[in-house]
């Protein structure tokens, strides 16, 4: 079995989704922890110091390339799988309750992922792109990201889109977290039970934390 055969098989493609998915989850953990510094409520001092460490240091910037590679792989593979899977039925059922026993969000990973992608385009054009272009895409001086958050989240429609984006992410993770471990071969009951619980907990915490960020600015809780 050559590498090509492995990674173009249905199980191999799923493995790519699982590994990149876990990698993105690790990124979320870093992202949410760093952003939580806004709640120090010190006018953004702590947050901007953290953001500066990530943006002006060569190591996180190299990791950032890996993050993009992983994200792009996850998106392309995910959408290709979604389209391929949708093409496998041919004639649709006239009457269909065969989905019983599966959760709606487990059947909607492609749609939830697409919503996340749309959100990411807005999100990156709000923060990542202005900041990096200010740095000339090198390690140059950064913009005041805290102040940028404040102005961005003063508009209601932006806050609403962010809340919806984070909810999509939450449901994507509610299925994705535990599914990724099953894809990687964890079949033991005792691990699966614990991973499913951790997955639900993680999805809720990530969603609530990210939703509260734009809300905290919009509602004027942060100076």
């Amino acid at each position: 079995m050559t590498w090509k055969q492995v990674f173009t098989s249905s199980v191999g493609k799923k493995l790519v989704m699982g590994f990149t998915g876990i990698f993105l989850i690790l990124f979320l953990l870093v992202h949410v922890s760093l952003n939580a510094c806004i709640w120090a409520n010190d006018g953004g001092k702590m947050f901007n110091a953290g953001a500066h460490f990530m943006g002006a240091n060569v190591v996180p910037r190299i990791l950032e390339i890996g993050l993009f590679a992983g994200l792009i792989l996850h998106i392309i593979q995910g959408l290709m799988l979604e389209f391929s899977n949708r093409s496998k039925r041919g004639v649709a059922y006239a009457n269909n309750y065969g989905n019983k026993g599966s959760k709606w969000y487990s059947r909607s990973m492609g749609i939830l992922g697409t919503l996340i992608l749309l959100f990411l385009i807005l999100h990156m054009s709000n923060f990542w792109f202005p900041n990096r272009s200010h740095q000339n895409f090198m390690l140059g001086e950064e913009i005041d990201l805290y102040a940028k958050m404040k102005t961005t989240f003063s508009e209601l429609w932006v806050v609403i889109v962010y809340v919806l984006g984070c909810l999509s992410l939450g449901y994507h993770l509610a299925h994705g977290f535990q599914s990724a471990f099953k894809t990687m071969g964890v079949h033991n009951k005792k691990y699966n039970q614990i991973l499913t619980s951790i997955g639900y907990g993680f999805s809720v915490i990530i969603t609530v934390a990210f939703v509260m960020m734009p809300l905290s600015f919009y509602l004027g809780w942060l100076s």
Binding site: V91, A94, N99, K100, S106, G185, H187
Partner: protein, 254 residues
């Protein structure tokens, strides 16, 4: 349980052959006993159709005792009908009441093309089995069964996986038309036993390759297969298949 008779409307998918477009036809059936099986109800309908000079409805069945995996049918939107852990041949008419309309469709999957009416071609499963669902045994006298020590937990899990009758309901229910529950049952059944050891790596790799070739979709762990399986094959077998695949592909020689 109280016995009763019922009159029903049965909406059946009729399709002359694999090329025909097909469509639903409604039939009235009268005086159906609640003690009949679902297939007996179709037998009664077919006899009526034959007497009237019509074409009887083609459907798959063999043992009619829930063990062969030949019966299929998507009944009122569910594979093998409304009962849990049940095959169509073991579905009884007491599941319905007088005046009901029952919609009957064939399994729908590109890899299971309709042959006629409610009959689909499930030979894709046979080819997946041929690709690796076997063990090598020397001919000669049968060896003493007790000479081969087998871990009890493994034996139990293997037997549970071996319950799969290859009916294809998992494919029919899955939104991706994925055959992973079926395949994982076959792979787990043999991977958990010492007899399956010699072909352990090549088996999983070849069977997955054949499954993909047949045009089934990829698994997204939704769990619809497990909920519909008449033999209650556990979805944890799919995770075991993934593990077998990962390790076999990493450690295979070529």
């Amino acid at each position: 349980m109280e016995h009763y008779n019922m009159n029903l409307t049965v909406k059946v998918w009729r399709q002359k052959n694999s090329k025909d477009k097909g469509g639903f036809v409604s039939y009235q059936v009268k005086d159906i006993s609640s003690e009949m099986s679902f297939l007996e109800m179709i037998d009664v309908l077919n006899e009526k159709l034959i007497v009237e000079g019509g074409e009887p409805i083609a459907f798959d069945h063999d043992c009619r005792e829930g063990i062969c995996g030949q019966c299929s049918l998507y009944i009122n939107g569910k594979p093998h009908g409304p009962w849990m852990a049940n095959t169509t041949c073991q579905l009884h008419m007491r599941a319905f009441k007088d005046g009901d309309t029952i919609v009957v469709e064939p399994w729908r999957a590109g890899a299971f093309p309709v042959i006629k009416d409610l009959m689909v071609d499930r030979s894709a499963f046979d080819r997946i089995i041929q690709a690796g669902g076997y063990i090598s045994v020397n001919t000669g006298n049968a060896v003493d069964g007790n000479s081969l020590p087998i871990n009890k937990d493994h034996a139990d899990a293997s037997f549970a996986a071996a319950m799969c009758i290859g009916c294809g309901a998992c494919v029919a229910a899955c939104k991706n038309s994925s055959a992973m529950l079926f395949l994982s049952a076959k792979v787990s059944h043999l991977a958990l036993l010492p007899q399956g050891e010699p072909e352990r790596k090549s088996r999983v790799l070849n069977m997955v390759a054949q499954m993909d070739k047949e045009g089934f979709g990829a698994c997204t762990n939704t769990g619809a297969c497990e909920a519909t399986c008449p033999k209650e094959i556990s979805i944890s077998n799919i995770a075991r298949l993934n593990k077998e695949y990962l390790f076999s592909s990493l450690s295979s020689d070529k």
